[in-house]
Subunit: 192 residues, 2 copies
């Protein structure tokens, strides 16, 4: 069975940032599976939106990939709405903001304004960082540069530690972001 | 452009409940658009999961519809995680529980246990009802019947009033469900 990842050889366009993120995507999928298996959170990768061209007896004979207008992962954690995206850069000194498409940035702003929990998981310099949407929006508001210095990410994002059982365990840092001691927070501490 | 709705004539299988729900789906899509346009809530129909068979240069040449394992609509309302499904029945006296697939019921239970807001919008006897997941789960726990009597729905679900501007405006009843006076609740009352 072919899917976009395997079908890379037939592509004529250059590799995009989202292809670079393939390994990070697997790690995040494993992390989310760990959360589901342990009833900690229910966060899923959204299906890629497809534009149907020709359908015959429920078989799709022609279709195309539509650009997602939102972020890749969405779900539920202790009643909270969670949405995030995975980003990979090979840049060493800064994270180029063109990794985040304008409609994604708009979406991050909407989620943040409506009390959802929104963030990016960034792979950079062989480390993983959880950059909260609010921090990203503040940076963009206060700076005119086209990339975020790595030093800013180190100082303002949560560094995620990879563990082969729990994956990136990013919810540990979402708990910290939420205040660490909120009333929904006492459960599951052992499991995580 | 063909899509499953238009391609109905090529189907050999009998019409399913989800086809019957087509008009309700349009009403819900309009309601959600009203919410988005007025920055009240950000609730979307999930893309139908597709199983890819053959992809050539990003064009999909063969694929099939996968069964969704969750509910159709997901989104954010004032920080709350919302998930729901639309169900239509032509039955007059009761709502057959086989409208809800076992994995959907399991999913409703998971969302409910994790403090998400989960419900069904049911079209029945030319009216629309918002049946909360917790009410549904209690009914199933306390009854062995295979359908929910219409009298139970009338007594225990919120009856939604259709309005050509605001659609079904189901969030009005979610506010009531949440207590009506919670701290997140003072805004947008005029708009709704």
């Amino acid at each position: 069975m072919l899917y976009p990842g395997n079908a890379k050889k037939t592509y004529t366009k250059p590799i995009t940032y989202s292809n670079r993120g393939m390994d990070l995507e697997s790690i995040i999928n494993d992390t989310n599976k760990y959360y589901i298996d342990n009833s900690i959170a229910f966060i899923y990768k959204k299906p890629t939106p497809i534009g149907l061209v020709k359908v015959n007896d429920k078989r799709i004979e022609s279709a195309y990939f539509k650009e997602a207008s939102t972020l890749d992962y969405v779900g539920l954690y202790k009643g909270y709405y969670i949405e995030f995206d995975a980003k990979v850069t090979k840049n060493i000194t800064s994270f180029p903001l063109n990794n985040i498409k304008p409609h994604q940035l708009k979406h991050i702003e909407i989620i943040n304004n409506n009390k959802g929990i929104v963030f990016l998981i960034i792979e950079m310099n062989s480390n993983y960082y959880c950059l909260m949407g609010s921090t990203l929006l503040d940076f963009i508001k206060n700076n005119t540069v086209k990339s975020i210095p790595f030093s800013f990410i180190k100082d303002n994002a949560y560094e995620l530690k990879y563990n082969y059982v729990k994956g990136l365990n990013y919810l540990k840092y979402i708990d910290i972001y939420l205040g660490g001691t909120n009333e929904k927070n006492e459960k599951n501490e052992e499991v995580k």
